[in-house]
Subunit: 337 residues, 2 copies
Amino acid sequence: MVTAYDVAKRAGVSMGTVSRYLTGNGYVGESTRARIASAVDELGYIPNRAAASLTTKNTGLLGFVVSDLRNPFTAEIASALSRNARLHGYGLVLADSMNDAAISVEAVESMRAHGVDGLIVTPPESPELNEALRRAAAVTPIVGIGLRTDPMVTDLVSSDTRTGARDAVTHLLELGHRRICFIGSNSMASGRYRGYEDALTQAGIAVNSELVVLGDLNRSAGYQALLQVMTLDDPPTAVFTANDAVALGVIQAAHSVHLDVPSDLSVVGYDDVDLAAHSVPPLTTVAQPMAAMGQAAVELLVKRLQGSDRDAGPEQIVLPVQLIVRHSTGPAMDRKH
Amino acid sequence: MVTAYDVAKRAGVSMGTVSRYLTGNGYVGESTRARIASAVDELGYIPNRAAASLTTKNTGLLGFVVSDLRNPFTAEIASALSRNARLHGYGLVLADSMNDAAISVEAVESMRAHGVDGLIVTPPESPELNEALRRAAAVTPIVGIGLRTDPMVTDLVSSDTRTGARDAVTHLLELGHRRICFIGSNSMASGRYRGYEDALTQAGIAVNSELVVLGDLNRSAGYQALLQVMTLDDPPTAVFTANDAVALGVIQAAHSVHLDVPSDLSVVGYDDVDLAAHSVPPLTTVAQPMAAMGQAAVELLVKRLQGSDRDAGPEQIVLPVQLIVRHSTGPAMDRKH
DNA sequence: CTGTTAGCGCTTTCAG
DNA sequence: CTGAAAGCGCTAACAG
């Protein structure tokens, strides 16, 4: 292995000088600089960051504990993180927890052992993880992406779900829909539900609990939910769902009962997964700015790492979301005939 | 920061003993062991692997330079790598090159600087990368996933593309198709094309160059290609494409000219991307064993790292591929009427 | 079974 | 502007 010492010897200088050259701390004469430079590449020298970290206390590594890499959503965030970490001179250590709390905790510890300078985490799902993060936060800046941790020990990057949902429902309202169904997860406190309420309220329409169905967030849940609401005396003409999977299930259910989307029923999803653009009809949905979220997360972390606000209180960044109108939504039809 | 020294002090032993306890090398008495154990967790001690690496020469880190994380394909491999690395006690450093050769090279160097014990790389696309890998290979075991590097310096994990393609075409043949079109990329040397040839030859059918169209591997290329072959005097009744995107384009084109899939035209794709299961009709396609490939890559690397065959010649693992029959293929129809 | 003692490769004072 | 020297946290002989 070629070390800084070898470089020093070859360039005829001391190790201290080589180090100053490499780190950019302290002066190095013009000609010395040149000699070191050529020694470096003649030898193919690559500095050992682990050794450096021993004195500098940082490894140049950022950790990312991701809930599920196979989700295109988080994969895109991971991609953005990799890119932005690189742009700031950091490497990225990745651990896919596959939605398993125990693995997440293990991953956080492992990353601490590897001395990551900062940590990025997507949806902290469990008390144990929260606890592990709390411990880690004492040593290392952490930023969460997406959901908020319970005791909010970390910085947070999220998107403006509530506004996104409001926009989606407003879009439906503007198309003339009045009976708009919400199919979502169990939390009425979710931004998606609140945005739905906001839009209706703003339009002077009361929320009708018959039109709100809460359950799992997958295709079959959407399928069932739609069949259920269509049995109402006065069924909805549009539905807003908490995610695209549900929306796709809704569309499928609609077809199964010979309802055309969008002429008989408009549906808007949430997330803009890959599938959304290719469903039939292509899905109107709300896209989260994944790349921007990844970038914001890295920048937040780097600011903590390099800035003076190392110990400032938790910060939160909320990014705007975008309604993407495709072909699953259309004008409300008069149900009379 | 709490160090091994603190633990030693608290447990009333020497650092050497703590080290032996931690690494498992050498004997540590029962009671001593217990005292160290409690000191460790009272203090919340986490060993510093970077420091350890200084003497052990390994960091417990595996590097993964991925061609494009947003491809569900490689994302799944990344997920498998993360999982298997963890199972073997390694962390995973990830760099998404976004198909950029310069970034790939930079990533390889960065990983060397971080001292990864081994490197995993998906499709080495450029001469520069090949060169960087060649340099790195002198120091670190490398395994490629997918394509082969030009001078084959690295171990390789791939899937049996040729057989997969042959199976796909044979499936079409068994359905009675005789005029089967191949839509693929520019390389006739590709396994996919060769598998197509194999199957036809085996069935005693000559390859008809009219039915082979080579070009880009995306949706619109597939769309165009189909339109083109359908203008032949005797158009194909089935098409085998080099990937799912192309297949989806083909289906779209078929619909646009009022051809029903599969009754008028059968189509089979390659890759089994997420979309494939959800297209209309769901796509018959060939799935690569991504998870198995990730696992094989890690195991190959770990074997090099821990085994005695550190310097054995390059090894190659070819994993079997699986034809997934869905609904885009059906019996050949007589074109007479 | 356990303590002592050299380093590992690099950064960082501190003198020159 | 540059050299010398003292560690950083840990492991690996080597004695005992």
